[in-house]
């Protein structure tokens, strides 16, 4: 059962996000709200309280003093204030299928509130009501929400599919067989409306490979939101090369290809441009909405780094009011003076290993019921 303050805060935050959250750009205002959320989480979630009490002796006076929770903690412990309406799970590509992180989400409405205004600003800026622009045909290479109930990305694709600017939707990803290239070709051939293509970086590569020599020209004004390339498998995709191929094979210029940075464990997202106005991919920086603050932390001791210096990224996302806001990620990047984030990808390179067993192999080999130890404690 969630504490009343938690529920009330959820409503207040959802309203604030729907209004754009501009007042949270003020440092004091952000701090006040972050500390209120922190206090509510402490009250509602004894595990989090013990986690923080174990290392800090006093109450934080700023969000900067709240100990971040490592993103991998979502693999072991349900971190939630109140009952979960839905559980989102990570794909398991980075830590192995046996160690998927779980985000227990107590308010899907808060997720929608955090995501919607942000994706609308970045994907629909030129085609809102009254713009006179034609409605969009959505083609999604992200699984349909019904096919991936535990995917936060699919849930967001579902939100987008319900936007008034979207005239029709083609779900062109089969969980069994991957990208359905024929469906994409049919959908493009059946409309003159600009396409909004939602995709992971890898599905986009799969589409381009599947097209072979075929050049599939998307109608003018088409746009692409691609995501996922910054976690785990980023090394396999060179973004500049990918965007060049997109231009050549799909006829969509770089200015209309937007990268979304998000993670299952965070309900807010960052985008690296506005569709139609985005700059060259290599020069872009990602921007979160005003209710997220990001720091780059020194990898050795997690001390904060100044703008421009790369480190491990920690985000404080107020949309995570019902789980935990301050998260230490495994992503490398730097903050910019203008409040953006430059992503460098996953902390690179496999650890130097010898012939001692890795945790992944261990878990695979020993997946039998564990015996506990009896006796004095």
């Amino acid at each position: 059962m969630a504490e009343p303050d938690c529920v009330e805060l959820t409503r207040e935050l959802a309203a604030l996000f729907r209004a754009g959250g501009e007042r949270l750009r003020d440092d004091d205002e952000f701090d006040r709200m972050a500390l209120r959320v922190h206090a509510a989480q402490r009250t509602a979630n004894p595990t989090l309280r013990r986690y923080w009490d174990g290392v800090a002796s006093s109450e934080p006076s700023s969000w900067l003093e709240i100990l971040p929770v490592p993103v991998s903690a979502f693999r072991d412990v349900p971190i939630v204030s109140g009952a979960a309406e839905v559980v989102f799970r990570t794909s398991g590509t980075t830590a192995g299928a046996s160690r998927r992180g779980e985000h227990h989400v107590a308010s899907v409405d808060l997720y929608l509130a955090a995501a919607r205004g942000n994706y609308r600003r970045h994907l629909f800026a030129d085609c809102g009501p009254g713009s006179g622009a034609p409605r969009l045909a959505l083609v999604s290479l992200i699984p349909r929400p019904d096919d991936a109930l535990d995917s936060s990305l699919s849930a967001m694709a579902g939100f987008i599919a319900r936007e008034p600017e979207v005239a029709q939707t083609t779900w062109a990803f089969n969980p069994e067989s991957g990208v359905d290239v024929h469906s994409v070709v049919r959908a493009v051939g059946a409309t003159t409306a600009p396409i909004l293509l939602l995709t992971t970086a890898f599905a986009l590569v799969q589409l381009l490979d599947g097209l072979g020599a075929v050049r599939l020209s998307l109608p003018a004004g088409s746009r692409i939101m691609e995501t996922g390339g910054f976690k785990g498998r980023v090394a396999e995709v060179d973004r500049a090369t990918l965007y060049r191929r997109v231009g050549e094979r799909l006829g969509v210029p770089q200015s209309h290809v937007i990268n979304e940075y998000g993670m299952t464990e965070m309900l807010s997202q960052a985008y690296d441009g506005v569709a139609g106005r985005a700059g060259a991919a290599v020069e872009r920086e990602h921007r979160f909405p005003p209710w997220v603050r990001t720091r780059a932390l020194h990898p050795a001791d997690l001390s904060p780094l100044p703008s421009g210096e790369p480190g491990l990224l920690a985000h404080c996302d107020l949309a995570n009011a019902r789980s935990v806001c301050h998260i230490l990620t495994e992503d490398l990047g730097s903050t910019t003076r203008s409040g953006g984030v430059r992503l460098l990808g996953r902390a690179p390179g496999a650890s130097l290993r010898g012939c001692s067993l890795t945790a992944e192999s261990f878990l695979r080999l020993t997946r039998v019921s564990a015996l506990s130890v009896d006796g004095p404690r």
Binding site: P46, T47, L48, R49, R50, Y51, G54, V55, P68, V69, P70, V71, S72, A73, R75, D76, V77, I79, H298, P299, A300, D301, L302, E309, P310, G311, L312, L328, E330, L332, R346, A347, P348, G349, A350, S351, L352, R353, G354, C355, S356, L357, T358, A359, S361, F362, L363, R364, L365, T366, V368, A370, L371, S372, V373, D374, G375, P376, R377
Partner: protein, 469 residues
């Protein structure tokens, strides 16, 4: 530490030594390993037959060398190797393995002992009642018997522990099998040095030895790998499950596989009877930066949790001291990130378990330290590397055995400290679980040359016996 926008230009090391009669490779590729770049031949479908043919052609000369002489030759190569290991050379080995120079020096000191002439003589004698069986038929009763290594042994070394490949090469040469060695990426510098010393010391043996690094499992090396798996009589493979499964899938049935998979090292300690055990456990965990199959990762300590907590604090003090003497190698952001994630995860698990009545998780680590001590229940254990020692409090040895049952598939070395009464019975129970080496904790890091490596005799597993009646 700062993360440079562009990595500094690293040093380079040659990742190949071919027999003198072969032309050197035409085109070289480069692969990063630790802080060095390994320069090695590019994948070339013409090169593998030439290399294999050359090594096979040298094999008869190997057979003509009496084993006693082979021991002297290899011992001599070791002596030359050791005397050539000046500060720069050790630094090179360390940089290649991604270890500190102090650690590399310590490892080389420890491992080179098992390669010297005296030790090799002992090894041969320990394995063969009459070592002359390696030189030809030896009569005994109604038959004569001989033991021989096959014509060519391919060695696939594991990642980044210096010396693993040299040990494997020496074993094959002792049984007079020609050697093609692919060292682990972090073990190239030492392997190449040793091969060069062998070539210098004896042309016949040198002609039967080749070293070549290549990125194992890479797509453009698949054809090369299939060729050498087919050409070799046996393949000694060190590596992860994925590596071993990949070799199994591609090697023909006629090629014998000798597998050394990754393992978890365990210690069992009675602190009341072993006051120095914390120091020994710390050393057993820290040496090789906890990358060795023998490296201790999990320690069972007899006693109540409160007493074991005190023992963990002493272990932590020993790890602090060792961080000065044997500093860890330079850590990249991924290693440091993994460390923060591990500690935070465990802290969160501990916070969650405190509310459920299940066993707590306690952690010790310094502000910027690379070591971590975790006191937890046995089911929480997962190998973490990076000088992470998991400690489990157990009331008695039976409880220890029950907890170890879960780890049976990955056990190899168990170090004992203060376990004197019922030691033999306990060892028998451990071996029943799959343990193949039970030794005093202080001896864990450096196995004797004649140890039962993963349950086999190190030379015995390489030879085939023949009889003449």
């Amino acid at each position: 530490m700062t993360i440079p926008a562009r990595a500094p230009d690293p040093g380079r090391v040659d990742g190949w030594v071919w027999p003198a009669r072969l032309r050197p490779p035409k085109r070289l590729a480069e692969t990063r390993a630790g802080e060095l770049v390994v320069r090695h031949p590019q994948a070339d479908s013409q090169a593998s037959p030439a290399l294999v043919t050359s090594l096979r052609a040298a094999a008869p000369d190997l057979l003509s060398i009496p084993v006693a002489e082979m021991v002297e030759l290899l011992g001599g190569a070791t002596d030359a190797l050791v005397s050539g290991l000046d500060g720069d050379a050790v630094g090179h080995v360390a940089a290649n393995a991604g270890m500190s120079t102090a650690m590399a020096a310590q490892i080389l000191d420890g491992m080179a002992v098992s390669w010297n002439g005296e030790t090799l003589r002992h090894l041969v004698a320990a394995e063969f009642a009459d070592p002359r069986v390696l030189d030809g038929f030896v009569s005994g009763g109604a038959r004569a018997i001989r033991a021989a290594g096959p014509g060519l042994t391919l060695h696939l070394g594991a990642g980044t522990v210096p010396g693993v490949t040299v040990t494997s090469m020496i074993r094959a040469l002792l049984v007079k099998s020609a050697v093609l060695a692919k060292p682990g990426a972090g073990d190239v510098a030492l392997t190449v040095r040793f091969a060069r010393e062998v070539q210098r010391i004896d042309a016949r043996v040198g002609a039967a030895v080749a070293v070549q690094y290549w990125p194992g499992g890479a797509e453009d090396w698949d054809s090369w790998e299939r060729d050498v798996f087919r050409a070799a009589d046996q393949v000694v493979v060190y590596g992860s499950d994925a590596t071993i499964e990949s070799v199994r899938a591609r090697a023909p049935a006629s090629t014998r596989l000798i597998e050394h998979p990754h393992r978890v090292g365990v210690a069992v300690v009675d602190p009341g009877r072993a006051p120095g055990a914390a120091a020994e456990a710390a050393r057993a965990a820290v040496l090789f930066d906890q990358r060795g199959c023998v490296s201790t990762q999990l320690v069972f300590v007899l006693g109540a949790r409160r007493a074991v907590r005190r023992w963990c604090a002493s272990l932590a003090s020993e790890l602090v001291a060792l961080e000065e003497v044997l500093p860890p190698g330079q850590a990249g952001p991924s290693d440091l990130s993994a460390l923060h994630q591990l500690r935070g995860r465990l802290r969160m698990k501990g916070a969650a378990s405190a509310g459920t009545g299940s066993e707590k998780i306690d952690l010790w680590h310094g502000e910027r330290s690379r070591w971590t001590v975790v006191l937890a229940s046995p089911d929480a254990f997962e190998p973490s590397g990076s000088r992470t020692v998991w400690v489990v409090a157990v009331p008695d040895l039976k409880a220890c055995l029950r907890a170890l049952a879960r780890l049976a598939p990955v056990l190899q070395t168990v170090g004992l400290a203060g376990i004197d009464a019922n030691r033999v019975d306990f060892a028998r129970e451990l071996c029943g679980l799959g343990v193949t080496r039970v030794v005093p904790l202080r001896e864990v890091p450096y196995p004797e040359a004649d140890w039962m490596h993963d349950g086999n005799r190190p030379l015995g597993e390489l030879v085939r016996w023949s009889e003449l009646r």
